[in-house]
């Protein structure tokens, strides 16, 4: 008997010592609505404490992916795991907060009552004072006792954020969290996201606001036409620099030399070279020296960092050309 108990204890210790699973893991998610393929093949992960940005044009399948993760839409194929449990198990959502793109709450309830309802549905034990703090964190402290029916769109979105955060989630999924907010509200949400990040809460953020994603996300997944077009850390995606050169008298040999430096494009006399992330400090001076040796007239040289917006557009354009 004691041997069995000892075995159980050692098994429990082994399980405890296992590394924590990802906050989100999904593989091969697929969804079709009638003839329309919304999600063709999406696999992604969000590590614990990581902020992942989901980017892509309208209709790329971002919201459908989020809804499949949350069990709101049934995937045609693929698997998903939230916080170590299969997404089809409702218990997987016990520590998940969600702000939907279409945020509507019971307009016959007060803001306080909406939060209390969600705390009860989540099965969490959150004292009333903490719920009030949550409303205060999104700027709704003074409207706590008002019916939601009288709230503006922006206030409803703030309430939605409080609903997502009230049950002490380990994973927060935000679908366009600032779509109805003014610039001050957007700044507030950014601060809130950064504080979530600092407290180790994983965040999956779907936003059209690239600047917002760039400021708070550790990693980005870009979706296009239901597939992952690109993914990586901001360092990987934005590490590239662009070299713009105003040149005259470019010979065939000079063109070949330019192409060896990186992907080359040309508009008139302006040559643009996308420099690889691993380029060293001598790449640009060496290229310019070689061009001069080939007899090319170098009028201007400018290196710029590729913005996430440029990178996103580049990925989406190259995808549509395929």
């Amino acid at each position: 008997m004691s041997a069995v108990v000892a075995d159980q204890h050692s098994a429990q210790r082994l399980v405890r010592e296992l590394p924590a699973s990802d906050a989100v893991w999904c593989s091969g998610l697929r969804k079709r609505y009638g003839r329309q393929v919304a999600v063709a093949d999406v696999s992604l992960t969000v590590a614990r404490g990581e902020v992942l940005g989901l980017l892509g044009p309208n209709g790329a399948g971002k919201t459908s992916v989020i809804k499949m993760l949350l069990g709101l839409v049934r995937p045609d194929a693929g698997e998903a795991i939230l916080l170590g449990r299969p997404a089809r198990d409702p218990r997987s959502r016990a520590n998940v907060g969600y702000l939907p793109e279409l945020f509507r709450y019971q307009h016959w309830l007060t803001a306080t009552e909406v939060l209390a309802l969600h705390v009860r549905l989540a099965g969490a034990d959150v004292p009333a004072a903490e719920q009030r703090e949550c409303l205060a964190a999104v700027g709704l402290a003074r409207r706590a006792g008002d019916r939601v029916g009288g709230f503006s769109k922006g206030m409803q979105q703030r309430l939605g954020l409080a609903v997502a955060l009230v049950a002490r989630p380990q994973l927060v999924i935000l679908d366009e969290p600032t779509s109805a907010l003014d610039p001050v509200g957007r700044a507030d949400i950014r601060s809130l996201l950064l504080s979530l990040k600092n407290s180790g809460v994983a965040v999956l953020l779907n936003s059209h606001l690239i600047g917002e994603v760039e400021r708070v996300c550790d990693r980005v997944v870009i979706l296009d036409r239901g597939c992952v077009a690109s993914s990586g850390t901001l360092q990987e995606l934005l590490g590239q620099r662009e070299l713009k050169l105003e040149l005259g008298g470019v010979t065939g040999a000079a063109s070949e030399r330019l192409a060896t430096a990186g992907r080359l494009s040309r508009t008139g006399n302006t040559y643009t070279v996308a420099l690889p992330a691993d380029q060293d400090a001598t790449t640009v001076p060496n290229l310019v020296a070689d061009l001069v040796r080939f007899g090319v007239h170098v009028h201007a040289v400018e290196t710029t960092r590729i913005s996430l917006e440029d990178r996103l557009l580049d990925i989406l354009r190259s995808g549509s050309e395929r």
Partner: protein, 282 residues
């Protein structure tokens, strides 16, 4: 299975009924109906002195059935038009997204909605029905033979209709679900009247219309059982063969087999609703 989610959702549904003023609208309609019936029964009471005691009971019980039909219609309208927005409306508006992303089963949410609506319908039927019975007792002295059975059958009728309304709400828009449910309720009652006429004429084909409709949607069958419980025991013999097929006269109490069918029907429709809601993409 934890009762936390169904009870939370049931409480939310009842609060919705109160806050969205469905309760007040239904109460206002009921007060108007009860006031009119109190005035009418008082006038009838004055006339009853000229009738024999049997005739007086007959008149009171028949008018009572007519008024209670009005009350059952209010209960049907109230619950179905609450069931539609409560489920289909939440899906359509996006309100269901945040709610169903919580760690809960959709079947528990559905059970909670059903419990809340059933509590609303049952409370209404009991309070309004008992008030009506007391009005009749005070004004005419008539007290039905089985009032509790009658009220229980009226409450079951409301529950059956709201079960259908919830099924429709998982598939169509809030307004469509309410209109279709109330339309089917009315159509079944009319089919029951047609069936009664068929029976009185000895036309089995027409009579079958009522039988089939009572099987497809048991609201009319339950209504007839409730009428039987409220009407005077001697009504059938007193009214005679010329009143066969009269829509506010019930010829026989409900059988155990029919009540079993009502239970089976409700369970089957509830199961289909659960499956339909569980498979629905939001």
């Amino acid at each position: 299975m934890s009762a936390r989610i169904p009870l939370t959702v049931a409480a939310m549904t009842l609060r919705e009924a109160v806050r969205r003023r469905v309760v007040w609208a239904v109460t206002a309609m009921t007060v108007v109906l009860l006031s009119l019936s109190a005035w009418g029964f008082q006038r009838i009471g004055a006339e009853l002195d000229t009738l024999t005691s049997g005739e007086a009971r007959l008149v009171a019980s028949q008018v009572l059935n007519v008024v209670l039909f009005g009350l059952s219609l209010i209960a049907a309208l109230g619950t179905t038009f609450l069931a539609g927005p409560s489920l289909a409306g939440e899906i359509e508006s996006g309100m269901a997204l945040a709610l169903l992303a919580r760690p809960l089963r959709r079947s528990d949410v559905l059970l909670g909605k059903w419990l809340g609506l059933a509590a609303f319908g049952t409370t209404f039927v009991t309070v309004a029905g008992l008030s009506q019975l007391l009005i009749v007792r005070i004004t005419t002295g008539y007290w039905p033979p089985s009032p509790m059975t009658g009220l229980a059958l009226l409450a079951t009728q409301t529950t059956v209709l709201l079960t259908l309304a919830l099924l429709l709400a998982t598939a169509v828009s809030p307004m469509a679900s309410g209109i279709v449910a109330v339309g089917l309720f009315g159509a079944t009652w009319i089919a029951g009247v047609v069936g009664g006429v068929g029976e009185s004429l000895g036309n089995q084909g027409v009579a079958r219309v009522g039988t089939v409709s009572r099987m497809l949607l048991p609201t009319d069958g339950l209504w007839r059982g409730a009428m039987q419980a409220f009407q005077d025991r001697g009504a059938l013999t007193q009214m005679g063969a010329e009143f066969d097929g009269f829509p506010f006269l019930s010829e026989a109490p409900l059988t155990l087999a029919y009540l079993t069918w009502v239970l089976t029907w409700t369970c089957v429709v509830a199961a289909i609703t659960t499956m339909s809601f569980a498979r629905r993409d939001l």
